[in-house]
Amino acid sequence: MQRSFLQRFSIVGLYLWGFRISVLLIVLWGSFGTFQAGCPSVFTLCAFKSRYSADVWLDLLVYGLSQGSVYALIALGYTMVYGILRMINFAHGDVFMAGAYTAYYLAAAFGRAGFLNRHPLLSLAAVLALAMITAMSIALVLERVAYRPLRRAPRLIPLISAIGASFFIEYAFRGFFGSGFQAYPEWQVFKGEWAIAGVGILRTQAVVIVAAVALMVVLYGFVMRTKTGTAMRAVSEDLEVASLMGIDVDRVIVITFAIGGAAAGAAGVLYALVFKQVHFFMGFFPGIKAFTAAVLGGIGNIPGAMLGGVFLGIFESMGPILILEGLRVPGIYPTGIPAPYQLKDVIAFTMLVMVLIFRPSGILGERLATKKA
């Protein structure tokens, strides 16, 4: 559609530019403020000498990486389902919770029996496997009950069904297991730090990153190398043509949900390793953030989802200190925004909204740019 000069510079356009520029200014001002905090002159940057040393930034980076790799695992499910069905599986975050929560009971039983510390890797594998199986079965039931009957309905209908499913799963778990937090047992081996290349890295975070990367490699290999994976990509490319080529679309959809669910279940255990607790509502925010990651990387695009997840994780872990703490406003915030970590989620949600507004096709995606996305 050809847009006239006037239309392009409409009030809406101006407003959007104002929005962009003000966010950019806040980010620049904030980071500048952080980097030159404690410096002798306003015109020098001395971040590594000031309040936060290089070690702190590195810790934040590793933390962001581990968080981001969990987001990336969840985002895989969003992105694959969206690629094929063009629907947001709003309940995906709760599939993630379901995996973590169910596996908690196995982990707790292992902990009581002392198995956890006798065979750490074996027990971790068993816990992961249980989480993946549970999450996978819940994702499959979800697909069968809440989504399959609505496959030809208008777009908002399956989304509303998914929102319903999300709350149903959450409150079913609340009814089953109670509304409190359950403390995830800890593996003794994963306590403390490992020195990698002269830098101390928290062991849990290293385990999370390694496990997530391994799972992603396996999944990526599955989608790129196997026949089923090829079928999945074909259906995502063009559902009708794929079915004309003899691909069983129903089967592919089921497999997609299964894989997405399994990845989310594994992500749930890894998330619980870092935060050491499970709760029936724990899936909601990671779910939304993983969706952000999926959109960020270009929805429907698997490497994009991984990239988006890692990017979001790092941005979220560094953002509060980088941007908000340096945001000194004379007269109101002379020492920067108080308690910047409270606004961690605001940063993530702002990013979500901005990606949806300004680049709904994501970093790596171009397919959906003009379609009804």
Partner: protein
Amino acid sequence: MRSDRGSWGRVISGGLIFGAAAVFVSLVGMVEALGVRVIVIGVIDFGRLLLLLIGLGAGYQAARRGGGGVLTALLRGLLAGAATGAGLAALLVLGSVVNLRGMFINASPALFEIISFGRGAAGVPLVVAAGAVVGVLGAAATLLPGTVRGPLGAGVTATIVIGLFQELLQIILQGEEGVRAAIRQLIFVPEGLPPRGALEVFVVVLVASALWRSRRPVVRSWISKRPPRTQRLLRLLGLLLAVAVVLVLPAAGGLFISQVLVLVGLYTLMGLGLNLEVGFAGLLDLGFVAFFAIGAYTVGLLTSTGQYGVAHWSFWAAVPVALVVSLIAGFLFGLPILRIRGDYLAIATLGFGEIIRLLALSDALRPWFGGSQGILAVPKPNIGGFEFSGPMQIFYITLVSSAFIAFVAARLRDSRLGRAWMAMREDEDVAEAMGINLINVKLLAYGIGGAFAGMGGAIFAALLGSIFPHSFNLLISINVLALIIVGGMGSLPGVVVGSLFLVGLPELLREFSDFRFLVYGAALIIMMQVKPAGLWPAAAVRRELLKEEPVGAVTEGPVAERAEA
């Protein structure tokens, strides 16, 4: 007997699904928690009723599916009911072997007592047999002719409703003498509804319903034969009667009822606003609570006599400002997301709503909005010395404003703007091609919808006398969304029906409130498949559903879109 094995297999597996449902409601805690509410003394409580209904449902659906004679249908019901019972029996056996309570907090001895009729694991055959009997009853219901089933159903439903709300009815019917006391003494004993009272209610409603069924055509034809003026008069009379009942409700029902009614009113206000966005304009908004919060905070800041109050205005002066502020917030909120469509829009609005809540909660904005401790000391509204001090008085404010806003919404719906919204809901591109300015129309939807919710927020602030950011979480948005979907998207009476069912009922049945979102979730899934138009569909939707599918109807969804692309 000739019948293919597949169909009997389906009966059993159908019964097992119902059995799984029975196990689910037991483990999720509903049976035990709702068991507190006795319906008929010594006969049944709400928890057992739930299990009973599941068994009846199993028999009903098994008998309805597939042909065959009376005996076949009953046998299907028997099998399905037994399968349902078997599900519960399996839970019983499992519970007696393993300690389920280490995992499922609700797998308590009390629950097993309820399921097994107090016999423990020895009750297994009894549970299966009871399931079979209930299944047969459910199947028998399908065989009754409509003239019998209708009144019977009405009688049972009335008995259950009166039993469920006996506490409330007793409060309404309190007093020592007079008609109210007489009715109360006839039906109730102080502890609740005794079997005798239940039987009386059942018989009276049964007879009344049967009479009405046979007389209905006569009454209808009598009315239609009157001259139009009399008909109009009758209709007006009915309306006046309804208004009178609503007006005296808080006085008759007392504080608790008034509180519930105010909540229903507030949710109706919000529902009307969201209905405008989702139902009329097709813009799914999951951050709707933000407008509610903006309305509440505006009134709070302008009127509060506490620390954060800035103006000490009166409620009446603050409300118009709150409306304007939430209107402007709607515009500002709508501007950046104009270009986003469909499901992305839902997520973007969710993000906005959460950002508003997190900002209100944060320490960064604490000097102005009070952070997590909120704004206290919001004064009650008053007119010339009369103070709207509690829910019983504030009810009238909600009532008047809901009525006014419903009127505005109805006029908007039928206006040029309303039609533009609906055109946009059906297809944005076509609407734009028809000359509708999408930008203006969308912004007005957000603005006006936001203002409606802002009105609700304003009253909410006055009702509570304080504002906490925790009150404005996502669950409220979901609650409002659920109520307009259950009521019927785009339908104004649907909003009222939806808030009565989804806000009023759970408040009245307090034991139920823990399972509120569980039921909402299930309701959203089921409604989308069974009745996407809602309980009280909008007139346009109803016309569409009654009509035959037009030739070459556009199938929406992924496949159709892919085909276009």
